[in-house]
Amino acid sequence: MGAGHAHRLYRHGHSPVHRLPPHCKLAAVLCFVVVVVSTPREAMWAFALYAVLLGAVAGVARIPAGFLLKRMLIEVPFVAFAVLMPFVAQGERVEVMGVSLSVSGLWGAWNVLAKGTLGVAASVILASTTELRELLLGLQRLKLPPLLVQIASFMIRYGDVITDEMRRMRIARESRGFDSRGIRQWGVLGKSAGALFIRSYERGERVHLAMMSRGYAGSMPVIDEVTASRAQWARALALPLSALAVCLLGWTL
């Protein structure tokens, strides 16, 4: 049970971004995304500036561009949706290379793509510079109700267990010639889902018992205090503040 293992999105490092307290980073990312989303979509240059800002943060965090871009592929399903918009949206239409496209659809696609991509990039940078445990502590310090933090930490701990059990069950299934193609196999997969659930639960239950036996009562005891200095807050908030400046320019220009 690896509560302490780094998650797969985390990239170990010692950059200034890695060292910032997690709740500062969380707050910064949240503010940044809010600012980005409230920017008018017509101010295309503003989005370019946001991208530059994020690029700078990634640079300071020493995250290679390839790593960042690969992680951002999670966005692909939405790109597909956005690409559809110009075809199906209503209103005024333009001809582009013989295809009739909706103007508002094009704007909509641009809007979703630009804002979505920036949001994804910001989250990816956060995830690659912050360990899971830190992130949970950060959420706790940002006054997320303790019960939610507790469920989240159990969830992450169980994530490992489930992945593990899944792999073992898949190996067992495949070594008996099961092939997961076609709708008829849903039953088998569903049944393994049930078994998976029980197996994971019973493994996790034992850890939980051990935790309760040592006085665990719903929230992780604080062993090392995480505090943020004013300077750290200032550094973390530099990103959303510069974004805000860009956003305000976007509205006035």
Partner: protein, 368 residues
Amino acid sequence: MHVPDGFIDIPVSAATGVIAAGAVAVSLRGTRRELDERTAPLAGLVAAFIFAAQMLNFPVAAGTSGHLLGGALAAILVGPYTGVLCVSVVLLIQSVLFADGGLTALGVNITNMGVVTVVVAYLIFRGLVKLLPGKRGSVTAAAFAAALLSVPAAAVTFTGMYMVGGTTDVAAGTVFTAMVGVHTLIGIGEATITALTVGAVIAVRPDLVYGARGLTVPLQLRVGGRLVDAAPAPAPAPAAAPPRSSRKVWLTGLGVSLVLAGFVSFYASSDPDGLEKVATDKGIDKEAEDHWLGDWPLADYGVEDITGARLSGGLAGVIGVGVTVAAGSGVFWAVRRRRNSAQSADSAGSGESWKAAGGAESRAEKTV
């Protein structure tokens, strides 16, 4: 169904944010009745399970991919309040950590995939369990129906949000048809997985299924080699939630049903046209989605290659919503009637306080 940043405009995002926060606050309060310290990790497991299940994207009609929503599973396994919390946590972590679903769209996502699915599924589930004979098979069947209908319900809500606050001007009928059609199909997958999981858990550990609580056998003592009945212990936690809270659930359900019904009558008439056709014609390539899945540790639980049947989206949509609304309101009224006739002194519930939820207490007071 995760909505990214910038997809829904700021006012609607903010409004759904308030709805989601309210629902979470109410749930934090209600959860104290559903969870004790032994079942707390179950909530985490359900969350992890939903998380994993949402990684299994299966292609459905028109090249769109769908995934399980998990609200029904959560509601049945850990109870509706905890269910809302589980799904909310999943969505929060997905958005913070995996950039799946925008941070500013968190309210939209929680309302759709957390609140609507859980409430609709739980209402249907409770209603069916009360109507069907009290056997384990009934619980599984009710789980199937609940999961089946919860998914199109979420799709309908999404369409509603999109109509009010979508940043792109796409015809209502188009979005409606595509979303509901696709999600009716997803509902079948969801129902299968949910029913089989609930069935499997009930068979082995019935004590873990919230929706099937209430089995107790009198204790016995072994005295001189013989078994004698022990003095009855103080009654364990009541099987059903206390009356006040369940009324709240029913009222919420009524509200949601009305909203859903409103959207349906308003938009069902608009002419459904061809998002699906466009999607297939322009070849939204399925391969694209496999790349990011390939990196994910859970990706090897292979369901990616299930090829979905192609159903006419329009027809499926209309049928799906019709059935949802009819079944939802029918079950609701049937149960209401039975409740009224059998209104009894449900034990007023556990006095044990869930300490962790204390902080949210005051906020919950305000929103209720």
